[in-house]
C-alpha cells in the first residue's frame, strides 16, 4: 500500500493504517535520532515523539513533497529540540559514566587498556559529531546514517544541492580537525 493510501486511511480514522506507516518508517527515524543522541533509549523516545507529532499534524500535510521528506524534517527538528531540552541532564549522565569508568578501570585489569582506548575513541567521535554546527550535523547524519543522496538531503533541508555539498565538505573538515589525534594511534 502506498503512503498516500495509508495517509488517506489514517485521516479517515483507521489506526491500523497508522501502525503500518509507523512500521514502514520507524527504523529510519530511529537511525536519525541515534545520530543525534547516540543512545537507544533516547532515540526511542524521539521516535515515539516524532510519530505522535506526525499523527497530530497529518491533516496539515500537503502533498507538495513526499511523505518521507516531511517525516525526515519532523525527525530532525524533534531531535534538535530533544537535545536542547536535555543538555543539563546529559552533563550529569556523562559525569556518572566517567565515574563508572573509573571504577571499572580498577576492577577489570584484563583488557582494560584496550577497552578504555576503544571507549575513548568512540567518545571522541561522538563528541566531534555532536559539536558540529546544526546544519552540518543534519546533513552529515542524513548522509552517513541514512545514506541519502544530496538531492534528497537538499529537499529535506529545503536548500540547494550545492549548499548541501558545502555543508558536507565543512563537516568533513571539522571532523578531521577534531579527530586529528586519532590518526597517530
Amino acid at each position: 500500500m502506498s503512503d498516500e493510501q495509508l495517509i488517506e486511511k489514517i485521516l479517515s480514522g483507521d489506526k491500523e493504517a497508522f501502525r503500518l506507516l509507523m512500521e514502514k518508517y520507524q527504523q529510519q527515524v530511529f537511525y536519525v535520532a541515534m545520530g543525534f543522541v547516540h543512545s537507544r533509549e533516547d532515540a526511542e523516545d524521539i521516535t515515539q515523539e516524532v510519530f505522535i507529532r506526525v499523527f497530530h499534524s497529518l491533516g496539515s500535510f500537503k502533498e507538495k513533497s513526499l511523505f518521507s521528506t516531511w517525516l525526515y524534517r519532523i525527525a530532525l527538528n524533534t531531535s534538535i529540540n530533544y537535545i536542547n531540552k536535555n543538555k543539563r541532564q546529559k552533563f550529569f549522565t556523562e559525569a556518572g559514566d566517567n565515574l563508572m569508568n573509573l571504577f571499572n578501570r580498577n576492577n577489570e585489569e584484563k583488557n582494560a587498556h584496550q577497552q578504555l582506548e576503544a571507549a575513548e575513541t568512540e567518545k571522541s567521535i561522538q563528541k566531534a559529531i555532536d559539536e558540529l554546527p546544526v546544519k552540518q550535523r543534519k546533513a552529515f547524519i542524513l548522509s552517513k546514517y541514512e545514506e541519502l543522496s544530496q538531492r534528497k538531503i537538499a529537499e529535506i533541508m529545503q536548500t540547494s544541492e550545492g549548499a548541501v555539498e558545502q555543508l558536507l565538505v565543512r563537516a568533513k573538515k571539522n571532523l578531521q580537525n577534531k579527530l586529528a589525534h586519532l590518526v597517530g594511534k
Binding site: K15, F18, E23, Q26, I125, K144, L168
Partner: protein, 114 residues
C-alpha cells in the same frame, strides 16, 4: 582498472565519500550505532499513547463555553436587578465610635516619662 575508476568516481560523488584516515573510525562508529534495532513494540507504545491522548483531551464545543460565560453574566445582572427592587423600612443603628475613653493614649505620647 574499471573497478578502480568506479571506486574513484564514487568517492568523488559524495564529499563524505572519503574521510581520509578517519573514514574507518567514523564508519565503524556509525555501523555500531546502526546495529541497534528499534523496539518491535514501539508502534504499539505510540498507539497506546495516542489512545491516552484521545481519552484525556475533552473537546468542549464553543457554544458550551459561550453558554457558561452568559449564565455567569446573567446571574450577576439578576443580583443587581433584584437588589434594586427591594423595598421596606431601613433601620439605622448609631454606633459610638469614639473610644478615646477606652485607653489613655497620653501614656504613649509622653516624652518626659524617663
Amino acid at each position: 582498472m574499471k573497478q578502480r575508476n568506479k571506486l574513484i568516481s564514487h568517492t568523488k560523488k559524495s564529499p563524505l565519500g572519503d574521510l581520509g584516515g578517519f573514514d574507518n573510525y567514523i564508519n565503524n562508529f556509525i555501523r555500531k550505532e546502526k546495529q541497534e534495532q528499534v523496539n518491535p513494540y514501539l508502534a504499539t507504545r505510540v498507539l497506546a499513547e495516542l489512545e491516552k491522548y484521545d481519552e484525556t483531551a475533552v473537546i468542549v464545543p464553543i457554544w458550551k463555553k459561550i453558554a457558561v460565560a452568559a449564565s455567569f453574566v446573567l446571574v450577576i445582572a439578576a443580583g443587581f436587578g433584584l437588589g434594586s427592587f427591594v423595598q421596606g423600612e431601613k433601620e439605622f443603628i448609631a454606633i459610638n465610635i469614639n473610644d478615646a475613653q477606652l485607653e489613655n493614649l497620653n501614656l504613649y505620647t509622653l516624652t518626659d516619662h524617663e
